[in-house]
């Protein structure tokens, strides 16, 4: 049997990779890609805790499904924003989208 | 009817304020509407207070028509209203004078709406002081009265009105700081502001307060109260706001100022100082008597020195109110004795009487001022043939002010002198000098205005009088005053009975 710790460490690693993507990529779309990785790592955790806990409690899976929905929504809105910004400013580089600064 | 029966006092108190609010929402434009509405509205409290007067049972002790409403529970203050013979007299005076003053203000043409609103608010403020049985409420109304008066002087006054109104406001407010502090102290000490409870406990309170002996504390608080009320009365040497304010105020403002506002101070003496500080009043009665005598004598002298007719009348108020304070001082020194009762009877009646005659005098000065646009006595002279009716009324009212027997002023002055003589003989004797000069300045006023050769400036030119006779509205203002002056002068029992029974029970 695979111990729980493996799943958790795997999820942590995936989370960190996603985080690195979010922090480091210049392209806004790539940042969103990183976010997707992070969400997935969370979902792995949720599924793992469900499986290693009381399987009759469906909270973990339900939560995972809701995360799917949120992820879908996030991607839809995020990409729409990226496209909108791109249309107006002709760039998708996150560093250059800084008109909200002081 | 049942509602009216059980809420008489609050109706009297708040009808003017309500009317003021209604006037606020009346459409602009027609001055006549405001005037008549305000007059009508001020008539309601008068009718209601007559109702109270006739239902009032003078033989019953304590307060009547009491009403208590929740107001500020957390600090033990409630909207507690009630009248006894002392305050009822003052309430009646207020509700009589206000409609008359509003009637007298019909000649105001500038911003009538605001004027009438302020006037009605003023009435509520004054009535509140007389009805309040809660110290905090007392103070609130005490200050409420100031604001409309300030604006009345400041907005509708004559040339020097800014100075006068500011002096009036700052002086009175400054004086009432000590009062506020004293009231706070009592409220904190007893955890209630109810006058009856505090009166019962404070006058015999002997424990230390914050490590200070009660007597010391009371002495300080006593003077704080005294100064607040002394400024309002006004007692010499706190009186100099009065000539300025009275002189600069519009006619009706002066009427109310002299007629009612000054009584607030004297009422404070009677309602708060004597019951709350009997010991201190006894100790310091001498000082109070000195001030009262000074007010009588110096007020008369200063009045005599005036060339401004209105200022002359204004100083006469100092002189007359001095008798009130003299009576109070005498009563403070010998409270409980028949002499003290007589002195207080005189003092309270003098308050009422001065309200009538001073209001009348100020109104008459206003009447002549409206026609001549001068108050300088030297510019009048010999006007009697031009305005015989006015002249007659002026002489009549002047004589009431002078204290001619047969008119109201005499009864009260005599009672004060009679009551004060065995208690404070020296001061009473000195005060007679003031009484003598009362005659001097009153006669000076009549002499300079009515008598003597006609000042050619006012002479009828081409068959046309430059100076018009007093008109019907103005006569209507004077008739009730004169009737009361005469009535009290001839048969004072109807009012003195109420006062006397209250005085005997209270002091």
């Amino acid at each position: 049997m695979v111990p729980l710790s493996w799943y958790l460490i795997f999820a942590a690693a995936l989370f960190s990779i996603g985080l690195f993507g979010v922090l480091s990529r210049r392209n806004a779309v790539a940042i969103l890609l990183g976010v997707e990785l992070m969400l997935n790592s969370v979902n792995i955790n949720l599924a793992a805790f469900w499986r290693y806990g009381d399987v009759s409690q469906m909270a973990g899976q339900v939560f995972a499904i809701i995360v799917f929905a949120v992820a879908a929504a996030e991607v839809a809105v995020g990409l729409a924003l990226v496209i909108s910004v791109y249309r107006r400013r002709n760039t998708v580089v996150a560093d250059e989208i800084n008109m909200m600064k002081w | 009817m049942n509602f009216i029966d059980t809420h008489l006092l609050s109706l009297i108190l708040f009808v003017p304020a309500l009317a003021a609010v209604i006037i606020l929402f009346l459409p602009n434009g027609e001055n006549r509407v405001f005037r008549w509405f305000a007059f009508g509205a001020s008539f309601i409290p008068f009718v209601l207070s007559l109702l109270v007067w006739f239902r009032f049972d003078a033989n019953q002790s304590g307060f009547q028509f009491e009403e208590i409403y929740v107001w500020y529970e957390a600090i033990g203050s409630s909207l507690h209203l009630g009248v006894d013979g002392l305050s009822l007299t003052m309430v009646l005076l207020t509700t009589i004078l206000t409609p008359l003053s509003i009637l007298a203000s019909f000649s105001i043409t500038d911003r009538v709406k605001a004027y009438m609103i302020l006037f009605l608010l003023l009435e509520t403020g004054m009535l509140g002081v007389f009805m309040a049985l809660d110290l905090l409420i007392f103070f609130v109304f005490w200050e409420v009265g100031l604001v409309p008066m300030y604006f009345l002087i400041n907005q509708w006054g004559s040339a020097n009105r800014n100075y006068a109104s500011l002096k009036f406001l700052i002086y009175t407010m400054g004086g009432s700081l000590g009062l506020l502090l004293g009231i706070q102290l009592l409220g904190v000490l007893f955890n209630t502001y109810d006058l009856q409870i505090i009166t019962a406990q404070w006058s015999t309170y002997t424990e230390d307060i914050a490590g200070i002996p009660a007597s010391t504390f009371k002495t300080v608080a006593f003077w704080a109260f005294v100064i607040a009320f002394a400024i309002k009365v006004p007692v010499w040497p706190f009186h100099t706001w009065l000539p300025d304010a009275h002189t600069e105020a519009p006619t009706a403002g002066s009427m109310i100022l002299a007629g009612v506002l000054l009584k607030l101070g004297a009422y404070g003496f009677l309602r708060l100082i004597l019951p709350l500080y009997p010991e201190q009043a006894r100790v310091f009665a001498g000082a109070l008597a000195v001030l009262a005598t000074a007010a009588i004598v110096f007020g008369a002298f200063a009045s005599y020195a005036q060339t401004d007719f209105k200022r002359l009348v204004a100083y006469s108020s100092v002189n007359h109110m001095g008798f009130v304070v003299l009576g109070i001082a005498a009563a403070g020194l010998a409270s409980g004795t028949p002499d003290a009762h007589i002195a207080l009877n005189g003092a309270i009646l003098q308050m009422f009487n001065h309200g009538l005659s001073a209001a009348g005098m100020f109104f008459l000065v206003g009447v002549i001022y409206e026609r001549t646009h001068t108050r300088n006595l030297n510019e009048f002279g010999g006007l009697f043939p031009l305005v015989p009716v006015y002249g007659g009324i002026l002489i009549f009212t002047s004589m009431a002010s002078l204290g001619l027997p047969g008119l109201n002023g005499f009864v009260s002055e005599f009672l004060v002198v009679r009551g004060a003589w065995p208690i404070l003989p020296v001061y009473t004797a000195i005060a007679m000098l003031g009484l003598l000069f009362t005659g001097a300045y009153i006669l000076k006023g009549i002499k300079m205005v009515l008598h003597g050769p006609l000042n050619e400036h006012w002479a009828p030119a081409g068959g046309e009088h430059k100076l018009t006779e007093i008109n019907t509205r103005e006569i209507l203002v004077m008739v009730p005053l004169m009737a009361l002056i005469l009535w009290i002068g001839i048969w004072p029992a109807w009012i003195l009975d109420v006062i006397n029974k209250a005085v005997v029970r209270l002091f």
């Binding site: 560093d95 | 200063a302 009697f384 043939p385 006669l443 008598h451 004072p492 003195l496 006397n500 005997v504």
Partner: protein
């Protein structure tokens, strides 16, 4: 009608007339005087009925007519109420008698004096005496007297005055007496200043009011003192043995007087003011500015008598303290002599009478001071009749002279100056004869006239009780009285007319002469009721009724003084001597220059007006204006108040400059802002607008905080 009720009603008609005239009928002259005279008549009628009924009561002194009602509720029980009421005892009845007569006569006289029925004046205006009217008759114009413009008002004032006098006489207590007293004071003021447009009249009115008010405030104190000492002001309650005894024994603490003495003195000062005694006499001569009926009524017969009446009323109290009595006697005697000397040098017909009035009132006061109660009351009554007569006579003379003035049209001629008269006895016979009777009564012409009997009684009392100083002073005064009276009669009526105006003087209408005749009757007969029983020849023919009647007022019936020939001889001598000397000296005098008694000091009334002006009036005004108003109120008090402004301003500026600006503003206010600004400036580089950097910061903080939490809390 019950007598008490009738007494209550007596004062009412005049006051009703006052209100009626003022409010309703003042435009109609005829109606006004009808109302006025009618009211006076009703009061007169009532008074006469009361008087007659009073005569019918035995021992009226012990059982007077009384009635009272509660007036002022004072104190807890009904006993402490202040009652007012009426009282008619013998003295009151006697006074009521003469008051009613004189008032009625004077009302009647006023109709004529104020020229009722004459046309309206050409240039008359309210506030000035009428100047005459031009009428056309039978084709030629001539001037006639014009009616008084304020005719109705005059009757209104008279009515109010009459009310005051009746109230005074009928009161059973000092307070209502004082009410009447002051109402009369007001009317006196209004009537003296009746022609108010004349500055002299205006000043005279104020002077009269103020001078009497000096007395009044003392009197008010006396009343208050008496009231507080006894708890009552009712005469009948005060004049009981117990009360009087207490008053006499309690010390007042002032000048070593007993309470009774001090009260008496205070009340007496009131009387001094009202009865124009020295030193408050100055107002009365000036009061002659008023119309003559006013002078007659107020300043001769009634109001000035009120002072004496007060002393008579309060006699049981005043007589308790010998010091007070001595003061009263001194003031009276001194005034009697002092004003008689002034009267000698006056040329104005009314002023002579005014000083004579002061002098005669001095007689009465002096009489009271020596305890001659009955004599004083007697003289009061006789004097009221003959002095009213004299005044009305002088008014008639003036009126006649004014006719002459109108005729000649020379308005510079003073119709009141006696040197402009002369020989009027032929022109105005009724006036002359009545005036003569009045003058002789004043001089004390023996046996016939009332003045003789009353004055003689005073002298007899002074002599009999050994008051030599008073006796001599009064005797000299009486001599002077006779002298100046004869001077007046001589200058006015005897000899030949000295001016054209006097030649054209006319007898006055019946409304004026009838009162003269009536009063002349009383000027003669009023004395006959008080002839001493032991008087040679006449004594006992008519019983000394007056002494019995009036004396009955007092609890202790005063003994009639023992008859002595010396005072009688003195009376005879001073009266006849004075009259004779007066005639001798003045029968040939034509101009003031020939009059050797025009001594400046006398003519100028011993400069009292000037002295008072310098001593009291001017300093009072200076004190009022300069000291009290300008210095104290505007200078010290307002200065003090105004100093609050600058002081507060300075204090505020100091706080602002040395605390607010550097500490609060610079350090805390600006300082904190500056620090924030600086800090923000440094920090703003962080705000790159780059979302990834924000996230990094967040993470750094998160990791740092998380690590810290972990190590410090969990580990």
């Amino acid at each position: 009608m019950a007598t008490e009720l009738l007494i209550w009603l007596i004062p009412l008609p005049p006051v009703l007339a006052f209100f009626l005239i003022v409010l309703l009928t003042n435009r109609n002259k005829a109606l006004s005087h009808t109302v006025g005279v009618g009211a006076a008549f009703l009061s007169w009628l009532g008074s006469m009925v009361v008087f007659v009924r009073a005569l019918g009561v035995e021992h009226l002194g012990e059982h007077p007519f009384v009635s009272s009602v509660t007036w002022l509720p004072l104190g807890e029980t009904t006993d402490t109420y202040f009652d007012i009421g009426i009282l008619v005892d013998p003295t009151g009845a006697a006074v009521l008698f003469f008051v009613a007569w004189t008032i009625f006569m004077i009302f009647l006289y006023s109709v004529g004096y104020q020229n009722f029925g004459q046309p309206k004046g050409d240039h008359d205006q309210a506030g000035l005496p009428p100047h005459g009217a031009t009428v056309e008759e039978h084709g030629h114009r001539h001037r006639v007297p014009s009616v008084e413009p304020m005719y109705s008002r005059f009757f209104a004032f008279l009515g109010l005055f009459a009310f005051g006098m009746y109230v005074l006489v009928l009161s059973d207590n000092l307070l209502t007496l004082f009410v009447g007293w002051e109402i009369m004071g007001l009317c006196s003021y209004l009537l003296i200043g009746f022609w108010y447009a004349k500055p002299s009249a205006r000043e005279a009115g104020v002077k009269a009011f103020m001078t009497t008010r000096v007395g009044d405030v003392f009197m008010l104190l006396g009343v208050a003192y008496l009231y507080s000492a006894t708890g009552t002001l009712s005469f009948r309650e005060i004049f009981t043995e117990g009360v009087l005894h207490t008053l006499a024994t309690v010390p007042s603490g002032v000048l070593g007087l007993s309470a009774a003495g001090l009260i008496g003195l205070l009340l007496f000062i009131g009387a001094v003011g009202k009865s124009a005694q020295f030193p408050l006499h100055v107002w009365l001569p000036d009061a002659m500015e008023g119309p003559t009926p006013v002078s007659a009524m107020i300043h001769a017969a009634t109001m000035v008598s009120a002072g004496v009446y007060l002393v008579i009323r309060m006699f049981p109290l005043i007589s308790l303290d010998p010091t007070t009595m001595a003061i009263v006697a001194f003031i009276g005697a001194f005034t009697a002599l002092f004003s008689a000397t002034i009267a000698v040098a006056q040329n104005d017909i009314k002023r002579v009478l005014a000083y004579s009035t002061i002098s005669q009132l001095g007689f009465m006061i002096a009489a009271l001071g020596i305890g001659a109660y009955v004599a004083a009351a007697f003289h009061l009554i006789t004097h009221a009749f003959f002095k009213a007569l004299l005044f009305l006579g002088s008014g008639s003379v003036i009126h006649g002279m004014e006719h002459g003035v109108l005729h000649t049209g020379d308005h510079k001629v003073d119709p009141q100056d006696m040197f402009n008269m002369g020989g009027l006895r032929k022109k105005m016979p009724i006036t002359f004869w009545t005036f003569l009777i009045g003058g002789f009564a004043l001089s004390g012409f023996p046996v016939l006239t009332a003045g003789f009997w009353s004055k003689d009684e005073i002298l007899a009392d002074a002599f009999g009780h050994g008051h030599w100083a008073v006796f001599i002073t009064l005797a000299v005064a009486a001599f002077l009285t006779a002298f100046y009276t004869m001077r007046q009669i001589t200058l006015t009526f005897l000899g030949e007319p000295r001016t054209k105006e006097a030649e054209h003087a006319q007898e006055t209408p019946w409304t004026m002469t009838v009162p003269l005749v009536v009063l002349a009757f009383f000027a003669v007969t009023a004395g006959w009721v008080g002839i001493p029983e032991h008087f040679p020849a006449l004594g006992g023919l008519i019983p000394n009724w007056f002494h019995e009647f009036v004396g009955g007022t007092l609890a202790e019936h005063p003994e009639a003084v023992e008859f002595s020939i010396w005072p009688l001889l003195t009376s005879l001598f001073v009266a006849l001597g004075g009259l004779g000397l007066g005639w001798l000296v003045y029968r040939n005098v034509k101009t003031p220059a020939e009059d050797r008694l025009q001594i400046p000091v006398l003519k100028n009334k011993y400069y009292f007006d000037e002295i008072y002006d310098y001593l009291f009036v001017k300093p009072a005004y200076w004190f009022a204006e300069t000291v009290i108003y300008k210095f104290m109120d505007q200078g010290v008090i307002d200065g003090f108040l105004h100093s609050f402004g600058p002081v507060t301003d300075r204090f505020g500026s100091a706080i602002r400059n040395y605390f607010d600006l550097p500490v609060i503003n610079r350090f805390f206010g600006d300082g904190s802002a500056n620090v924030t600004y600086w800090f923000g400036g440094k920090l703003r580089v962080v705000q790159t607008g780059r979302i990834q950097q924000y996230l990094m910061f967040a993470l750094v903080v998160f990791i740092a905080v998380g690590a810290a939490l972990y190590f410090f809390l969990l580990a």
